[in-house]
Amino acid sequence: MPLTRSTLREGIPEGGPQEYLWTMNFGPQHPATHTTLRLVLTLDGERVVDAEPDIGYLHSGFEKIGEHLDFNQYVTVTDRMNYISPMANNVAWHLAVEKLLGIEVPPRCQYLRVIIAELARISDHLLCNGAAGLDTGAFTFFIYAFNPREQIYSIFEALCGARFTNSYTRVGGLMNDASPKAIEMIREFLRGMPKVLDDMERLLTRNRIFVDRTKGIGVLTKEEAINRSVTGPIARASGVTRDLRKDEPYLAYRDFDFKVCCAKAGDCYARFLVRMAEMRESLKIIEQAVENLPSGPVNVGIGDRVALPDKRQVFTTIEGLISHFELTMSNRGFETPCEEVYAATESPNGELGFYIVGDGTNTAYRARCRPPSFIHFALFPHLIRGHTLSDVVAVLSSLNIIAAELDR
């Protein structure tokens, strides 16, 4: 399907002196785009003069669906946004809902949510960095990165029964408490992971080919990063010292000791290094959270009337029975204020926020997702101009574009 010429390219007339430029279609089905996105590149020999992203191949109307599913049902849709780290989306969604309702989850739930969000971050960074290696020709590195992801999936399976689309969180708590077996699996993961990271760094961080392919490619300055709304590891690789876990501590992040990893160069290599360093910091957070995991309930009490009470309460107390009945009847549920909130979390990709409009019912009137991938992909033409065709994949993998989140 032809793409309408962007008005931005009106400077290059058809049949003008620059008519020798080649137009090349990249995607939407291409192994190096990883997901379904399309680029129309204008080439001068091997140099990229301009790039025109064309997105929407995976648009599924998630925000429209969000207006028709209730707060607990919609969490299954957030899984499918950034499917590399679904747990981080679950946490972000229910954080926004709980902010709208004005409830605070118990400490044990906060710690467990921190653990799963950080595991999701490690899983996301492993895939992103692994793919950065894969796209620049280091296949072994990809396998090294993919192996521990399998372990993380097994931990998620022990926590909630699903490996890929987890939907572990609920309004006011979690689906169920973490079993001792899951905690033991997390401990084992923490023991093995530093060695994997050491191996990965030995394989690629000083690899001549990889450094040549990524250093000085796709440079983003600090001012541009702020002006173009860039967040997360990409902004931090450009020297923006912004991490919502430190700047606006949500959940229990205030209790943990960790560093914000930054770099100054702003190129693909700096983004790779920031992600590698962030994984080590995440391990530190998980270790502190697991060792100091508070005891107590994971769901808010019956008084808040949002989380299902446990079965013993339902069968033995009248309050539990009423609460269970109210929450499961389709015409009851809980009530929300007629207000609007925005809650943001530091997801692996950047600032992931939900803007929710409540209208009194237990369904959002509007469920806007602030997707980091969407904002980062808008950068792409700016980053690639002047580089060669082979750098397209290096820049794409360093931006970590997830098309399901890009199009929603």
Partner: protein
Amino acid sequence: MSATDPATIAALKDAFPELVVSEFRGQTRVVIPRTHLFSLLQKLKNEFGFDMLVDVTCVDYLQYRGAKDRFGLVYLLASTRTNQRMTVRCFVNEPDPSVPSAVPLWEGANWLEREVWDLFGIRFEGHPDLRRIVLPEEFTAHPLRKDYPLQGLGERHNFPVITRAEQ
């Protein structure tokens, strides 16, 4: 979420007397008429240090109880230096839902405003590249409006099938 500094709000109220300020769960929101939207955003960026535009989105209040206006635009601003946040609201109505574009101030507004145009049909005056972004260019409706149904319209079976012979 860090709220906005009260001194900032006071200074803003001096500059824009028509500003309506409210707060909910530690979030400061200001409502500004369309005519003053761009100058407010410009002032916030240049004088008050709100250097990052976090998000631009829109809410269609067609079926909202007690709503007076049809569309409510949302600009989420943040400051990377002072770590403040602020929400700027602007209400627009049919038949001409349009606001000045924020692209001259923040490059990041480009795709965000294209998405609002695509899904809500709000025109951003002065946007350099206002095309549809997630929907195909032949699409005629704006599906996140509340008068657009969840199912039925714009689905695949409504489009003509192109065979190889016709290509």
